[in-house]
Symmetry: C2
Subunit: 739 residues, 2 copies
C-alpha cells in the first residue's frame, strides 16, 4: 500500500571512511557460540535454496489479471498461494472476513465555467503491455471510502493540501469554505487531503498526480520509461487511517460472520466530503482555468502553465456514487509448528490484494515471502525444525485500509498478545538499497543480519552499501544499521501500534523509481523492464527477511536488548523538547514582527498578502517525569546488557526470561490508547494525525505540542513517563531472573 521510499538523495561529502564500530557479543544474537555456528550453516543452506525463477513465475501468474478485493482473480490468487503453502507442507488456513469495500457506480467530474471540460477519467491501454487492455475487469481510478456526493463550486488549488498549505492560503485571505479543492498527490498520505479540506469547510476534493512528482519531470513515462504518463491515476484508500484502519463497520473488533456491524452512516472513518483522484491530463484544463494569486514557487508543478490558486473562475461539478457492498477479504495463514516453543509465534506477512495488477505493490514482496516459505520447507525436508512456530500470512484487503490484517489481528487479539514474539512485514520492493524500520529493541539484532547478507551487484554487505549513501552524502557513517521508526501504510500497523508486538517492515529501493504506484500500469511488464528485472533484489530481500524469521524462531534467548532503544527514545525526547523551544521562539519572534508592522513594509500592494495573525505563546513544559523515567530506563538497559554479556549459556531461567522479553513491547502500550484515537495504543510510535503514513514518535506529547494543546502536553508527559517506568520495571525483573 505504501510507496517505498525510493529516492535517496546523494549530496556532497564531509565524512571519511566506512568503519563499523559495532562490537558483537555473539555472531548471532540470542545463540550460544555453538548454536550460532549451526544457525549460520543453516542460513548458508537456506540461501542456496532460493531461486529467482520462482519469483518471476509466481509474479507472472498472480499479476495476469486485476485482483482487487472481491474480484474473481483475487480468489484465484488466494487459492494459488494456499495451494503452494500446502504443497510445501504448511498447515494452511484461509480466513475470510466480509468487509465494507465500496466500488464506483458513477464518477463524474466536469468544469462548468469559464469553459466546459469533461474529465475523461480513463487510463487507456499502452503499446507493448497487454495487461493495460484489461480495463473492463479493473477498478477505475477512485478513492476508496470517499462518501457519495454531488457538489458544484469554485475550485481552489491547495498544493499538497497539508496544514502548512492552509497557512499560506490564510496569509492571502483565501478560504476554501464552500469550495472544491484540488490537491497534488504526495507531501502527505492521500487521506489527509480530504480530511483537512473538510475541516476547513471545503465541500469536495480532487487529487491529481503532478508530472513534477512522478511524471515526465522525473523521467521517461510509460511505456517508454517507468514514470507516470498523462493518463495514470493513483487509486487509493482515503479512510481516516490515523484514526483507525480496518473495516469501518467493525471498529476495534473483527469482522467475523457474527460481528455486529455499524450502519454505513455510523462509520466515522469515511471521508466527510466526496473525493476523486485524476490524471494530469484531466487536471491540466482545470488548473489552467484558475486565476487569482500565482501559487508560491514551492507549490508549482511541472505542467506548462502558470499555477494560480483561485478561487475560480474555474467552477467544477463533482458527482460520485458508490456500491456500498460487503466483499470478502481472504487471509491465507500458513503455519509451521515450533518444536520447543510452539506457543511462541514468529509471524511473517505481505498482502496479496492489489489495486489493479499490482506487480510491484504487493506482488514483488509477496513472491519474496513465498520463496522464503518454500526454502524453509526444503530445510524442514532435510530435518530442520524451528524452535518456535513460524507463520507466513498473505493478507487480503490491505489496499482499502489494512483491512485483512487488522480484522485478523482484532479477531485473534487475545491469543496474539500472548503468543507473538515479532511480526515481519514486507510489501512492494525493488532494486537498490535496504530500507528497514521497526522496533528499536531489535535494532542490534537486525544489524547483525545486514552485515551477513551481500548486495547482489557490488560485492559488499547490504549494510555497507546502505552506509555508503550516508558517507557520500557527507553524514556520519553508521555505527550500525539504523531502523527507521514505523508510521503506517502496511500490515505491520495492527500488530505494532494496536497490539504492541515488536515489528519490522523492510524492502529495497532507490534504483527502481517510477510512477506506476496504484495505477493500471503497475504490471509484470513494467516490473521486469524497470524495477528488478532478474529478481536479484527480491532474492536478497528473502535472505534478509528469512534470516530475521529464522533467527527469531531459533534463538535460545530472544534477541531483544535495550541500550539501543534507550538511546533512541532519549533522542526522541530531545527532538520534542527542541520542537517546543523552536515553536516558542518562532511564535515569540513572529508575534513581535507582526506587531511591529514590518510585514506591511515588505508587502507588494499588487499581491494582497495579509500579515499573518499572532498566535498564543508557548509556555515552558515540565519534561522532568520523562527525563527521570529515561534515566531509569538507561540504568536498567545497562544492567540488562551486563547480565547478557557473558553469553546466552550463562543466562539463568531462560524460559521465564523469554516470556518476559516476548511481552516487552506490549508494555509500551496503554489500553486507552492515544487521545482521540484509542485504536492506537503504542506510546512511542504512531502515524501522524496530520501526516497519515509519516511517523510521529512519542506521539501523545509531540502532537499535543504541535497542535498547541498545552493541557494535553502535561497529561501526555505523565502517561509517557508511566509507560517508560513500567517498561524499565519489566527489564529489571528480567535482569533479576537472568543473574
Amino acid at each position: 500500500m505504501k510507496q517505498f521510499q525510493s529516492t535517496l538523495i546523494l549530496v556532497c561529502i564531509f565524512c571519511i571512511s566506512i568503519t563499523t564500530t559495532f562490537a558483537q557479543s555473539s555472531p548471532v544474537m540470542g545463540f550460544t557460540e555453538e548454536a550460532a555456528k549451526k544457525q549460520l550453516a543453516l542460513e548458508a543452506n537456506y540461501d542456496k535454496l532460493l531461486k529467482s525463477n520462482n519469483l518471476d513465475d509466481w509474479m507472472k501468474y498472480m499479476t495476469a489479471r486485476p485482483h482487487h478485493v472481491g474480484s474473481k482473480y483475487d480468489k484465484k490468487v488466494v487459492d494459488f498461494i494456499a495451494k503452494k503453502f500446502k504443497q510445501w507442507g504448511y498447515d494452511v488456513k484461509i480466513e475470510k472476513f466480509d468487509v465494507l469495500f465500496p466500488t464506483p457506480k458513477l464518477r463524474l467530474l466536469e468544469m462548468t465555467a469559464p469553459t466546459k471540460y469533461k474529465a475523461s477519467l480513463i487510463e487507456p491501454p499502452v503499446e507493448g503491455d497487454d495487461s493495460s487492455t484489461q480495463i473492463e475487469e479493473a477498478l477505475p481510478g477512485y478513492n476508496c471510502f470517499s462518501i457519495d456526493g454531488d457538489v458544484t463550486a469554485d475550485l481552489v488549488f491547495v498544493n499538497y493540501g497539508i496544514p502548512a498549505d492552509y497557512e499560506e492560503l490564510e496569509k492571502r485571505g483565501i478560504s476554501v469554505e464552500g469550495k472544491i479543492v484540488i490537491a497534488k498527490y504526495a507531501g502527505s498520505w492521500r487521506g489527509i487531503k480530504p480530511k483537512l479540506a473538510a475541516e476547513k469547510g471545503a465541500i469536495g476534493c480532487i487529487i491529481y498526480s503532478d508530472p513534477k512528482d512522478d511524471g515526465y519531470y522525473q523521467g521517461e513515462v510509460y511505456p517508454d520509461g517507468p514514470y507516470k504518463n498523462e493518463y495514470g491515476v493513483q487509486r487509493g484508500a482515503v479512510m481516516d487511517l490515523p484514526y483507525s484502519p480496518g473495516d469501518p463497520l467493525t471498529p476495534g473488533y473483527g469482522s467475523t460472520d457474527d460481528a455486529k456491524r455499524l450502519k454505513i452512516e455510523e462509520a466515522t472513518s469515511l471521508t466527510k466530503i466526496p473525493v476523486l483522484p485524476i490524471s494530469y491530463h484531466d487536471a491540466l484544463p482545470l488548473l489552467k482555468a484558475l486565476k487569482g494569486p500565482v501559487a508560491p514557487s514551492n507549490w508549482r508543478g511541472a505542467l506548462p502553465i502558470t499555477y494560480h490558486i483561485g478561487p475560480g473562475p474555474a467552477k467544477v461539478h463533482l458527482k460520485l456514487e458508490f456500491n456500498w457492498d460487503l466483499k470478502p477479504a481472504y487471509d491465507v495463514i500458513a503455519t509451521l509448528k515450533g518444536s520447543t516453543h510452539p506457543d511462541e509465534w514468529v509471524i511473517r506477512g505481505n498482502h496479496h490484494d492489489a489495486w489493479v495488477h499490482g506487480a510491484n505493490d504487493p506482488i514483488s514482496g509477496l513472491v519474496a515471502m513465498m520463496e522464503e516459505a518454500r526454502a524453509v520447507s526444503e530445510l524442514v525436508k532435510k530435518g530442520f525444525q524451528p524452535k518456535r512456530t513460524m507463520m507466513f500470512c498473505a493478507w487480503g484487503a490491505e489496499e482499502p485500509g489494512l483491512i485483512g490484517s487488522t480484522e485478523w489481528v482484532e479477531t485473534h487479539a487475545e491469543e496474539l498478545r500472548k503468543k507473538v514474539v515479532a511480526y515481519i512485514n514486507t510489501d512492494g520492493t525493488g532494486a537498490g538499497f535496504l530500507g528497514a524500520g521497526g522496533s528499536h529493541t531489535l535494532e542490534k539484532f537486525f544489524d547483525q543480519i545486514t552485515h551477513k547478507v551481500q548486495d547482489p551487484q557490488k560485492g559488499v554487505s547490504v549494510f555497507e552499501r546502505r552506509n555508503a549513501v550516508e558517507v557520500v552524502s557527507g553524514r556520519k557513517p553508521w555505527s550500525h544499521y539504523k531502523l527507521s521508526a514505523l508510521g503506517s501504510g502496511s500490515d505491520y500497523s495492527p500488530f505494532f501500534q494496536h497490539l504492541g508486538i515488536a515489528s519490522f517492515n523492510m524492502g529495497f529501493g532507490g534504483e527502481s523509481s517510477g510512477g506506476e504506484y496504484h495505477t493500471m500500469y503497475d504490471s509484470y511488464k513494467l516490473y521486469k523492464r524497470f524495477k528488478d528485472p532478474t529478481f536479484q533484489y527480491g532474492i536478497t530481500l528473502a535472505k534478509v527477511a528469512g534470516r530475521t524469521s529464522l533467527r527469531l524462531a531459533n534463538a535460545e534467548v530472544l534477541p531483544f536488548e535495550f541500550n539501543h532503544f534507550s538511546k533512541i527514545v532519549n533522542g526522541y525526547l530531545n527532538q520534542v523538547t527542541k520542537l517546543a523551544d523552536k515553536l516558542r521562539q518562532e511564535t515569540k519572534t513572529e508575534n513581535r514582527l507582526i506587531n511591529s508592522g514590518v510585514y506591511d513594509l515588505v508587502a507588494n500592494p499588487k499581491e494582497n498578502i495579509a500579515a499573518p495573525k499572532t498566535k498564543t505563546e508557548i509556555p515552558y513544559f515540565n519534561f522532568a517525569p520523562i527525563e527521570n523515567a529515561l534515566n531509569e530506563l538507561k540504568q536498567q538497559a545497562s544492567a540488562f546488557a551486563k547480565a547478557s554479556k557473558n553469553g546466552v549459556q550463562n543466562i539463568q531461567n531462560k524460559t521465564a526470561v523469554n516470556q518476559l522479553l516476548k511481552d516487552m513491547e506490549r508494555s509500551l502500550t496503554r489500553a486507552h490508547g492515544l487521545p482521540r484515537r484509542s485504536w492506537y495504543k503504542h506510546h512511542i510510535y504512531a502515524p501522524g494525525f496530520y501526516t497519515g503514513y509519516g511517523v510521529k514518535t512519542l506521539p501523545g506529547v509531540r502532537e499535543a505540542i504541535e497542535q498547541r494543546n498545552f493541557k494535553e502536553v502535561e497529561e501526555q508527559v505523565d502517561i509517557l513517563a508511566s509507560v517508560l517506568k513500567d517498561f524499565s520495571a519489566k527489564i529489571e525483573k528480567a535482569v533479576s531472573l537472568m543473574n
Copy 2:
C-alpha cells in the same frame, strides 16, 4: 544592460525590530551644520520640482521606435536628449565614436535529425501593443559579437553552461568536444556560456530562455502579464566582457576618428564559436529530441518534457553571418560648471541605446536622470550654483559592451583621473526596494541619503523599507544601508574598475519582475502596465541619485571615510581565507572518498555515473601580508575618523585634503591590472572571470584560489598588500593635513 535584481526572497523570521544604530556626525556628511541646513533646504526644493509626467512623456517619445546602436531612431533619441539638456541651460556636447557593431545578415538554426525542425527565430506582434509590430526596424534575436559560423553537430544540454555544470557532465563521462551546446539563460552572464563551451571544445552554442526562469512558471506571459511568452528572445552581447569591455577594435584606448583599429580577426574579445539566442518555442523541439541521461533535477526547467542531456540523437545545423560594420556610438555630455571647484567633477550617467524599444532598459533610468538634470537647472534659475562641476551623460552603445562609456573614458582617461570625484550610474529601474552598489568609502555618506528619501507607498524611508526585507527574512537588521560590491553590466565599469573612480549604481526593484529584458516586448505599454505605472519609483530614484550628485557637488570636505571600507575589506579577506579552508577540506575529503571506492557502492548501474577524479590538494597560504596591511588600514581609518569627528569646520587644509580624497579610490588600482586582463585595474572589485557580471572581491587572490593557481595566490597576496599599504599611506597623509 544588466537585468536589475528584482526578486527579493522573503523567508521566515528570527530577527526582532527595526532600529537604526547609525550615529551621524553631521546631518549631511561633508557639510558644516550651517551648510547642512542650507543643503537640506535645497534638497527639499529639488524634490518639489520633480514631475512624474515628464518621465512618462519622455519615455513615450524615446521608446516609440527601436533605437539600437546605429539606427535612425537612436540618433533622434540622442538629438532629443541633447536638445532637452540645452534647453535646461547645460553646456552640451555630443561625442561620436565609430565602433564595431555586428548585426545579423543570416540566422539559420535547424534540427536535421532525428526529425526535422527549422527554428522560427521570430517574435510575432502581440495584441494591444503596437510597438511589437515594428519588426522591420528592429534587430532580431541575436548575440552581438558572436563570430560567423556554419556548424552541424550533435546537441548537448549543459544547463546554464557554467563551470559547475561541466563538472556534472564529466561525472557522466559526457564531453562537448565537437558538439553544439544548448544552455539556459541565467545562472551567469550570457557571454560566459559560449566562452566556457569553446574552452571545452564545443563548436557552437545556443542559448534559450527556459519558462522556469522568466516565463509562465513565474507568472502570466505577455501580453496577459509581464513574463516572457513562448516567442520572446533575449538579445545581448557575448563579447568577453570580463576580459575587457568597449570596442573590440580599440582595446584600452578610445575609438576616435584617428585611432588605429585592429582587424576583426585580431580582436580577442569576440566569441570563439558561433552563438545564437532562441525562444523556448524554438528550444522545445530540440530539447525534446535529446536522449541520454536524464538531467539532474536542478538542471530541469518548466517545459513539459523529460530533460535529457544528450549528446544527440538531436543533431542541429547552426549558420550565422553578420555585417561587420562600424556604427556611430553617440555620448551626450551635459555640463554645469562648478562655482568653486570647476575642475572637480561629479558625473551622473545612464545609457540611451536599447536592444529594441528599451522602455525598462535603459529608458526608465534615463528619464529619471533627465528629470534630475531638469530640476537642478530649475534650482540654477533660482540662484543655485554647485561648488563642483556636475555632468549628466547619456551613453550610447552600452548594450553591445559598455562601448560608448568605455570609449569616452579611454579617450579622456588622463583628465578623468585628475578631475572626477565620483560617478553615479543608473540603468533600468522599477518599483519596490532600493538596490545600490558602490565604493564602500562612500557607504556612510550614502546611508544618510537612504534615511532622508521616503518610499512612495509606505510612508517610511527607503532605508527602512529595504531593511524590512532583512528583518522579515530573519537576518540581522541593517545598522546602515549596505552597498553591494559592483561587478559589471553597466556603464560604471570603465570609471570604477578601469580608472579607479569611486562609483555608485542604483535602482528600484522587487515589485516589477518580468521577462521582457532585451526582447521585442520591453515596451512603453508593458512598462506602464507592470513596472512603475505612475513613475512614483522613477521619481524616488531621482531623489536618491539627485541627492547623491548634489551633496558630492556641494560638500566642503568630500564625504569619504574609511572605517566602513576597512571593515568591508576585512570581511572579504575573511571570505577568501574561508574559501581556501573550505576548498582544502573538501578536496581532502573528496579525494579520500574517491580512493575509498564508496562512489561505486552508491552508483546505479543504469545511470553510468563515474566517480569524480581526484584533485590536487590545496596548500596553506601566507595571508599575513594582507592581514598586516589591513591592520594598518584599520588604524589609519580610525585616525581619519578621529580627525573628522569635530566637524568639517575644524578640518585644516580643506583644499589639499579634498584633492587627496578625490584620488583615494585611484590608489586601489595598479597600472598592470589583474592577471590576464590588464584592463581591469581595481584590486578590490572586479567582475568574475567565469561569472561575467557577478562580482569577485579581492579578485586577484580569490580567483587564483578558485582556479587552483597556487603560485599566483602568493603573487597576488603581495600585490594586494602593497595596494592596501599605499591606500593607508594616503589616509595617513590626509590625517596629517587635517590636524
